[in-house]
Amino acid sequence: MLQLIIKRLLVAIPVLIIVASLTFFLVRLAPGGPFDSEKAVSPQVLKNLNEAYNLNATLYEQYTDYMTNALVGDFGPSFRYPGRSVSEMILTGLPVTLELAFYAIIFASILGLLAGIVAAVKKNTALDYIPMAIAMLGICMPTFLLGPLLVLVFGINLEWMPVSGWDSLPGDKVLPAITLGAAYAAYIARLSRGGMLETLNQDYIRTARAKGLSEFKVVMVHAIRGGLIPVLAFLGPAIAGLIGGSFVVETIFQIPGLGRFYVEAAFNRDYTMILGTTIFFSALIIFFNLLSDIAVAIFNPQART
């Protein structure tokens, strides 16, 4: 286990450095700078602005300056929001995105596991086909189709839920979590069904049944491991996907999360913000992948990649 963790962490460092460097140069290559605005900036002013943000130094100097600062966690000031540091902005948006992802994953896991287990147990009956068909729908519908539809039905027509916001009105976390989690619920349903089916065919299950254990016990105690493992393995990449998917959901529901910050930063050429957020997301993904691998290793000592 310790070996796994160390190995992962060793891989993480070059990843982060590559990510940071790649992003740094990509962004600088981009046409359009952070200070371009509709009201033309006189060369005088532009020079002063660039000076204030160290943009007049050579690219090499800027790179080394940035990397040395980043190593100690100083990502610099945001170009777009004078007076705010990137770290500060990340720390404001991050908990929101994490919370959203958390609710989404909880929703997805509960719904998905339930559906998957039921479908596996009641294989080839209506209780198998219908949930799996709905699951497929979840996978095939883009979030930006599902979200507005849910808002239309539950927010405007039925008025059960608030239309947007986060932490301002009661119940405003429900629709975003469902929208984000829907596709993942579907994947989890299919994965757990598949895993359950494989497990249910195993010898030890037959033995348990022969021993006279109730079907419920057989499923929920013995077979469930088989259903859970593929799901746990999936959770790592799922979190990565959730962070990406959160961009859309955060835009639709006006949630002040990191995803929205990132997209805006990209459009605004807020160099420092883009860099800081990218490094952060990378670190997050690595972290969750690691957690997921640890979970798999705990549950299934045989599975070592």
Partner: protein, 532 residues
């Protein structure tokens, strides 16, 4: 399973049907403001956008304030003022009651220091040119002189400010309602940084001090900004709102839904597709206010084909503006036949651009491209946005149909678009200009040679001379006549193709009183109240 979901549903219903923010706002006098994108900041000398404009209007006050109904500015910090015979020296008497939100008096010295700040080159302000009309201000900003006392602004005494201009600009009072001319609280700024520190934390809640009807209570990034009544404001008796909550909702459809669900009193925009629908249904909340802005196409006059003014006029005359405003933008915009929006502060340009494809074709033929033969493919550049695309598509079709020329649409993201325009890497580009104050000068000045915002390469010295002449003209009627002449030259040469005059379209709750159509979209909180 079934009962479980029923319980969940009931639970959610009971949670959801709570009292809406608009309803509770009525009782608590809290105004919920849909403010577009997250404001960059609160420093009036650094920010440049509209969301910031709304915030600063609530938090700070300049020498004058915009008249809610449009027209001449009203007294703000300055109670009254007098202008010298030659129109160059303005003497402002500051209101003795004018105070900062921490109780300090607002003094003339505050303005002197603040204008020195915005003109300090290392601050990197993007609006210093608003003050260039003041004697030696430009020289100080360009570092030609280093002693600020040579600049034409002096504190005669604590409450008297004297300003000397380069020329007798009769629109000087009009531009003083723009936030770049506001004062900032010196002690607060210096307590958190130097005079030219862009990243100083003086604008944070808890630090921020300003002199407007509201003061800053809290700022949750990307979520909500809350401002509350400022007890030290000189006109506090008029202020009826207790708090204002600003929401940075950048997605138009989301904002629309929020309004309909009773979460906002006013929206920033109306989604493109909804405007014509709301117009048709006579939606009582829809507001379409005149706005000092022109939507136009910039022509790169350095381009070999576009150099010829006959080509430019042909392009302009084959655009059916009526069809564009009625069938494409569909939100009450007015077709524009002049560069300056007509009616701005009483200025009525009498220019005309006929929609006449026949004449256009003839002109194009004269220029050497009969029926569009031999005319190279034209590129229209615009920033990625549906509204711009639709108009560009319509124009593309019109030019193809009436002139026989090929047009390609190129859309890029905002920053790329800006930088391409800046370096002249375009042939035709979509543009918009919103006036900084209510006077034709803010438009016509744009097209003078060597203006950073000109971007067309059109340098006409006859035009330049006329504007210069107008600037020294104190009589408003005579000044407008001269400006009209300049406008005529502009329309004759057509380095820019005006398309329509902007409007501000938004939705306003029926609870809001005192919110009048204002051409610069300035709505002072002290005139606004909530009543049902």
């Amino acid at each position: 399973m079934k009962y479980f979901s029923l319980c969940v549903a009931l639970f959610l219903i009971s949670c959801g049907k709570s009292i809406s923010p608009v309803d509770s706002g009525l009782e608590n006098k809290i105004f919920h403001f849909g403010n577009g994108s997250e404001p960059q900041g609160l420093d009036p000398h650094i920010v440049t956008g509209v969301p910031e404009h709304h915030l600063i209007t609530a938090l700070c006050e300049g020498l004058v304030i915009a008249n809610p109904k449009g027209g001449p500015n009203l007294p703000g910090v300055a109670q009254n003022w007098s202008i010298s015979e030659d129109g160059r020296v303005y003497t402002f008497n500051l209101n003795p009651q004018a105070k900062w939100s921490n109780g300090d008096d607002v003094t003339a010295q505050d303005f002197v220091w603040s204008w020195m700040r915005i003109l300090t080159p290392s601050l990197g302000s993007q609006y210093p040119d608003m003050l260039y009309y003041i004697k030696n201000a430009a020289a100080y900003h360009m570092e030609e002189i280093s002693n600020f006392s040579e600049v034409g602004v002096k504190a005669i005494d604590k409450k008297t400010l004297e300003v000397t201009l380069e020329q007798p600009y009769s629109f000087f009072i009009k531009l003083l309602s723009h936030y770049s001319t506001y004062a900032v609280h010196k002690d607060t700024v210096l307590a958190h940084g130097t005079i030219d520190d862009r990243n100083g934390e003086w604008t944070r809640p808890g630090n921020f001090v300003c002199n407007g009807p509201m003061q800053l209570k809290s700022w949750e990034l990307n979520k909500k900004i809350v401002v509350e009544k400022n007890p030290f404001y000189w006109d506090i008796d008029k202020v009826q709102l207790n708090e204002m909550h600003f929401y940075p909702v950048s997605n138009e459809s989301t904002e629309d839904r929020m309004f309909r669900a009773g979460q906002l009193h006013v929206t920033n925009v109306v989604p493109q597709e909804k405007c014509p629908v709301y117009l048709r249904e006579n939606n009582p909340y829809l507001r379409i206010d005149p706005y000092v802005g022109t939507y136009f196409y910039r022509i790169n006059t350095l381009n070999p084909v576009l150099k010829d003014k006959r080509v430019r006029k042909a392009l302009s005359m084959s655009i059916n503006r009526k069809q564009i405003v009625e069938n494409v933008s569909q939100c009450g915009q007015k077709a524009a036949y002049s560069f300056t929006p007509p009616g701005i502060s009483g200025y009525e340009p009498d220019t005309a651009i006929p929609f006449s494809p026949e004449e256009a074709k003839a002109l194009l033929g004269e220029a050497g491209f009969p029926n569009g033969e031999g005319f190279p493919k034209l590129e229209i550049l615009f920033n990625t946005q549906e509204g711009h695309r639709k108009i560009a598509l319509a124009v593309q079709q019109m030019w193809q149909q009436y002139l026989g020329i090929q047009v390609e649409l190129v859309n890029t993201d905002w920053k790329v678009y800006l930088s391409r325009e800046m370096i002249g890497d375009f042939q035709i580009s979509r543009a918009g200009w919103i006036g900084d104050y209510e006077d034709p000068n803010t438009f016509l000045d744009l097209m003078r040679p060597n203006r950073g915002n000109n971007k067309t390469g059109w340098d006409n010295y006859e035009y330049d001379a006329l504007i210069e002449l107008a600037n020294s003209q104190q009589d408003e009627v005579k000044r407008y006549e001269i400006l009209n002449k300049a406008e005529k030259i502009l329309i004759d040469e057509m380095p820019v193709i005006p398309i329509y005059t902007y409007v501000r379209q938004y939705q306003l709750s029926s609870d809001v009183q005192g919110w009048d159509p204002n051409p610069t979209d300035t709505h002072h909180p002290k005139f606004v109240s909530l009543e049902r």
